[in-house]
């Protein structure tokens, strides 16, 4: 297990990766990626039980599904820095002939990705299926998933939320990134989500909240608490409040950086706020 300082260094380095990847191709989604950096770093380096290497079936290890696929930069950076594929490959993000497509996919065979996502609202169903396969296989490992809050406006989520509770899929931990923003503005202005935690609760889930999803220790504690609540007859939901664009002052408190790349000057400012720790790719 890395110590907290090592993980904090990784968080800053992943932020640099996200910014540089998106800047290079002048496209991609930095806002949500920066907001979920602590979550990804904690999940892959402190929480999940992972095997060496990658195989699609993932029997005997925990699995993760990213439903809000547009935050691929943070996913790719954390996977690369965990050793799933060469770090230099981050240079190919969104370029022709790359395995690092705009949204994550299995189609080009990128290790670490088990399903395509990008068209929203589909990931929870897939995570449930993988969790059911684990039960059939007698594999007591867990399935984690991440969902955007705006993504919950897609109806398929509620089919999945109903199914998971009704069928006691209690080896599943679904985290909602409650950053309150979506493309057209605040979630409560575009289509109000209301009390997300309460909605999961009345559907029959065991729900816990991470008040500050950009506080690494809180995220780790929350994920570990969630793990301790699995296997008790209910799927577990974490409602995690984050700040979109976290770590870059001018990207915070706005939805403007959902899907926009920084200019050269903006990149320099953003990188200065996140000094190199583990070495740029």
């Amino acid at each position: 297990m890395p110590n907290t300082q090592e993980l904090q260094d990784l968080v800053v380095q992943v932020r640099r990766d996200i910014l540089r990847m998106v800047h290079k191709v002048n496209s991609g989604h930095p806002g949500g990626s920066l907001g979920c950096t602590e979550f990804f770093v904690a999940l892959y380096n402190e929480v999940m039980d992972l095997k060496e290497g990658f195989d699609m079936d993932g029997i005997g290890e925990d699995l993760f599904f990213l439903s809000n696929g547009h935050i691929s930069p943070v996913f790719y950076s954390v996977l690369a820095r965990k050793g799933y594929f060469p770090l230099e490959e981050l240079n190919t993000f969104r370029l022709i002939d790359s395995r690092l497509q705009g949204h994550p996919t299995t189609h080009e065979g990128l290790p670490g990705v088990r399903v395509a996502s990008g068209s929203l609202g589909q990931g929870m169903s897939v995570a449930i299926g993988a969790a059911l396969a684990k039960k059939l296989n007698g594999d007591d490992h867990l399935v984690f998933s991440l969902h955007g809050d705006g993504e919950l406006q897609e109806g398929q989520n509620w089919e999945a939320i109903m199914y998971a509770a009704g069928n006691k899929v209690d080896n599943l931990i679904a985290t909602v990134d409650r950053n309150g923003q979506q493309i057209d503005g605040g979630t409560e202005d575009v289509l109000p989500l209301g009390d997300v935690a309460e909605k999961f609760r009345v559907f029959g889930w065991d729900v816990l909240e991470i008040e500050n999803g950009n506080d690494l220790e809180q995220v780790i504690a929350g994920l570990k608490e969630a793990k301790s609540r699995t296997g008790k007859g209910k799927p577990v939901c974490i409602v995690m409040t984050t700040e979109m664009g976290n770590g870059v002052d001018f990207m915070m408190h706005t939805h403007a950086w959902h899907g926009k790349a920084p200019s050269d000057e903006q990149l320099a400012t953003a990188l200065a706020q996140n000094p190199e720790t583990l070495g740029d790719y």
Partner: protein, 317 residues
């Protein structure tokens, strides 16, 4: 002409159910999902014998397709079944992203396709599903013609790695293919050799094509009848070998002429061997309520329609 005997009318969906029963006993990785239509899909025996391998998802087809995709991660072979309309059009993007693009080993099994579900009417009578499914890269599309072939196809697709759309229907129709006939995905079956015209049929229209060929023989016309059960990948060679001999072709299917088997055949012919073709299919229309026989008559999908198309296409040679 080669003689085929109706061994007794049965529904193709029961062929699916019988195939699932066998798979339940022989392949421990096969799992079944259904969206509140267990009785209609005839999978009661599979469920009774393998309750832990059955997932009732309720009236939630989008979630069913996603769960099916997830079950493959861990080595399961999910057979997700419901009515054809709800198995395709309703959940197209779920199939596209979570199954086809993700190359998941999911079998989408669809009953009540086409007009012959009858009285429920156009809301349930999908005539566009072959087109929707064949356009997805990597998707195999199969439309068997009777009980025996549907059973054999169900068993065969479990051995094929990759997404499959298996299309069958509701009414009891002639069961005439041999019970022990091997089902080879992508391999057309020659049912009757002929010299004047090629009739290429799929699904419920195959029996109608045989009835038409018998009647044509009495009029001195020698019709070759080919059963295309796999629309994708299409058996180009079987089609080309036949039309090079006969010089004209009629395609017959319970589907819109846009996007169906006929168009796939046209592409092969236009590319390799331009040949006059007539389409027995619905003409870009929705269906309506009625008995299966009334509907097939009204929409021109029976042996008489095939005969008329043959006479028409032969004049164009």
């Amino acid at each position: 002409m080669t003689k085929y005997t109706d061994q007794g009318k049965q529904d193709t969906r029961s062929g699916y159910g019988a195939g699932m029963t066998e798979l339940g006993r022989t392949n421990p990785n096969v799992v079944a999902l259904c969206a509140d239509l267990v009785g209609s899909l005839k999978i009661d025996t599979f469920i009774e014998e393998n309750p832990e391998r059955f997932f009732q998802v309720g009236i939630a087809e989008a979630n069913m397709m996603g769960i099916a995709a997830g079950l493959t991660i861990g080595g399961k072979i999910p057979f997700a079944s419901t009515f054809a309309n709800f198995a395709t059009g309703r959940v197209y993007d779920q199939i596209r992203q979570s199954i086809a693009y993700s190359d998941k080993n999911v079998k989408i099994c669809a009953s009540h396709s086409g007009l012959t579900l009858g009285e429920d009417g156009a809301t349930h009578q999908i005539l566009e599903d072959i087109g929707l499914m064949k356009m997805l890269p990597g998707m195999t599309v199969i439309n068997p013609c009777d009980f025996n072939q549907t059973k054999a196809a169900t068993i065969a697709i479990a051995e094929h790695h990759g997404p499959v759309y298996l299309r069958f229907g509701r009414p009891k129709v002639a069961n005439f293919t041999p019970a022990d006939q091997k089902f080879e995905i992508g391999k057309a079956l020659m049912l009757n050799e002929g010299t004047d015209v090629t009739i290429i049929a799929t699904g419920h229209l195959v029996w109608q094509a045989l009835l038409a060929a018998e009647s044509l023989e009495n009029q001195g016309i020698s019709a070759e009848v080919i059963n295309i059960h796999t629309i994708k990948p299409l058996d180009d060679k079987a089609i080309l070998d036949s039309v090079k001999k006969t010089g004209c072709v009629v395609t017959a299917e319970e589907h819109n002429y846009l996007g169906g088997l006929g168009e796939s055949v046209s592409r092969v012919l236009a590319t390799h061997h331009p040949t006059p073709q007539e389409f027995v299919a619905t003409q870009d229309t929705f269906g309506e309520s009625g008995t299966p026989e009334q509907l097939m008559e009204k929409y021109g999908l029976n042996n008489k329609a095939i005969e008329a198309a043959v006479l028409k296409v032969m004049k164009r040679k």
